[in-house]
């Protein structure tokens, strides 16, 4: 059984975002790039499944759509433990374009389980996983908080508002994962980093695909007004302000 983990290359979560060229482009000068946090957890879970002898998972491949600048992030995924990385050499224009490229790869290179994160922390599109499922005509499960394999029998937990569901699915399928899928992301070991250098990182040409949306410009949110400080003895005053000034009660 093979697992494909979709990787988005995103600015470190502490990045102060800035824009350039008349606010039309993200200014990536000085930005540290990381594996999108959910994708990192997905990869961690994929590793755990492979290490568990109770199933037949024997290969983990990570895939990314983007330019060569993401290679360092893919190497990190290899250092964490992926067996192989694939980069589709295309400018990731929008979710439709990215999902379409990954689907083209899947048509030639089938996998049983495809993991995608609930959203990428840059454009917050939350769409790639479900789009891949649709392009491939696969079942897809969203809000996935755990994936277990018992002798290749798949059990998936999904968060629903105020509760959870336990699901069974056939393969191939796409799991769009969120918090809970793995506890802590794995940190590459020294040995992992050495081994990663020798692991394959394939670069594939992009397929001709349409782009349906285009980012025009960015803006920063309005600055918040100053915080009104209230004495810790004056709880009644806060209640009054919330009722009559903020009008939120």
């Amino acid at each position: 059984m093979k697992i494909l983990v979709c990787i988005s290359n995103v600015p470190d979560t502490t990045t102060k975002v800035k824009f350039k060229e008349g606010d039309s482009l993200f200014d990536d000068s000085g930005v540290q790039w990381i594996i999108n946090p959910w994708d990192e957890l997905a990869l961690t879970r994929a590793m755990e499944l492979k290490e568990d002898a109770g199933n037949s998972v024997n290969e983990i491949c990570v895939i990314h759509v983007g330019g060569a600048s993401a290679d360092a992030t893919l190497r990190k995924a290899l250092a964490i433990g992926a067996d192989k990385a694939v980069r589709i050499d295309a400018c990731p224009a929008d979710a439709y374009h990215v999902a379409g490229q990954i689907a083209e790869y899947l048509k030639e290179n089938p996998f049983e389980i495809i993991f995608s994160g609930i959203e990428s922390s840059d454009y917050n599109g939350s769409s790639v996983g479900a789009m891949i499922a649709e392009f491939m005509d696969y079942p897809g499960i969203s809000s996935v908080t755990s994936v277990n394999l018992d002798d290749d029998d798949i059990q998936v937990n999904r968060a629903i508002p105020g509760g959870k569901q336990v699901l069974k699915t056939e393969t191939p399928f796409v799991a769009v994962v969120q918090k809970g899928i793995a506890m802590e992301p794995r940190i590459p070991s020294m040995r992992g980093i050495m081994m990663a250098r020798k692991k394959p990182l394939e670069v594939k040409p992009a397929a001709e695909l349409e782009v349906l949306t285009e980012s025009i410009k960015f803006e920063l949110p309005q600055e918040k007004g100053a915080c009104k400080m209230i004495d810790s003895e004056s709880a009644e005053q806060l209640v009054d302000l919330l009722k009559n000034e903020a009008k939120v009660l």
Partner: protein
């Protein structure tokens, strides 16, 4: 041309977010000088469907097959796409919640319709069609043009509010073949906490962080939440430590919420935490450290120990009610 909204129900009932969706789509239809159709999937009583008229719906298409009472994103997307085609919809609008996130991307692929998720307001312009969305986990907004003829939007919760109207609703059954081969995912078990306020729906949220010091100290948080009819939430280390469940974790890697009132007790206000709560209408912070970054994003602040301040607040809210 027309616009269509997919209004999801929960056990046959709509939520405020469904009404906000209808309000938004109606305003969008008005701006485009066209009519709006609302699609409902699964069994919903006529009385409930008529409630959509209070927010501007005059035509509701329903697919009331009991096989569709639980969400199957593939089958739902298939129906949404077919309904959109049958009414000649140019714009398809869904809520940016779990189900919208699962269905909208599939509809986008089926119809080759450009999708923008978590839209914040009515389109910025129509020629070209440009919408504003949250990017970089709330640190900025992006203006995105949709270039395809058909367009799919999901709208962020509490971005628009409710617009009341009084329309008489014409309800029509939408005849569609349900492809049962799409039901590949089977539910074996389901657990739902019926008595708890659901975090993603809550108007008021009481949230607590590491400043509570120990999981045994949560009673003041729960008591305040109870008085306010609020949901409880927490920062990431609190859920990582297992002090509270994962479902309570808000922030960049947890839930993104937009309540009317967010009370942060013993939370420092790290950038990743703020990413999940910055769209709250009003933020109250309680922290012993007057320099804590949470005061930089809060509307009201109290410098003090949570163990003293929370019970005082609970008391004050209780008194103000009676």
């Amino acid at each position: 041309m027309s616009v269509i909204a997919f209004a999801k129900n929960w056990n046959g009932k709509f939520k405020n977010s469904s009404f906000e969706l209808v309000s938004y789509t109606k305003a969008l239809a008005n701006q485009l000088n066209t009519n709006m159709v609302v699609l409902s999937i699964g069994e919903v009583a006529e009385e409930e469907l008529k409630l959509l008229g209070n927010y501007g719906a005059d035509k509701v298409l329903t697919v009331s097959d009991p096989q569709l009472n639980t969400l199957t994103s593939r089958a739902y997307a298939d129906i949404v796409a077919k309904a959109a085609e049958s009414v000649g919809a140019e714009v398809i609008v869904l809520s940016d919640n779990n189900s919208g996130k699962a269905i909208a991307p599939r509809v986008s692929v089926k119809l080759k319709a450009g999708l923008v998720a978590a839209v914040q307001e009515l389109p910025v312009s129509f020629e070209p069609f440009v919408v504003k969305k949250r990017v970089f986990s709330g640190k900025a907004f992006g203006h995105v043009q949709i270039k395809s003829d058909k367009k799919v939007l999901t709208i962020a919760k509490n971005c628009f509010g409710l617009l009341e109207a009084s329309c008489v609703v014409a309800i029509e059954e939408f005849a569609v073949d349900i492809d049962t081969s799409l039901f590949k995912v089977k539910i074996v078990e389901e657990e739902e906490q019926k008595d708890k306020v659901i975090l993603s729906d809550a108007d008021v949220v009481v949230s607590a962080g590491r400043g509570m010091r120990s999981p045994e100290n949560w009673a003041p948080v729960e008591e305040l939440a109870e008085v306010l009819g609020a949901a409880t939430a927490c920062s990431r280390p609190v859920s990582d430590e297992g002090w509270r469940g994962h479902e309570e974790h808000v922030g960049q890697t947890g839930k993104v919420i937009a309540p009317n009132l967010y009370i942060a007790a013993g939370i420092s206000g790290a950038i990743q935490h703020v990413a999940g709560i910055s769209r709250s209408k009003c933020i109250v912070a309680i922290n012993t450290d007057p320099e804590a970054p949470i005061f930089g994003v809060a509307d009201y602040g109290i410098v003090g120990d949570v163990m003293d301040v929370l019970p005082r607040l609970t008391e004050a809210f209780r008194n103000s009610k009676s």
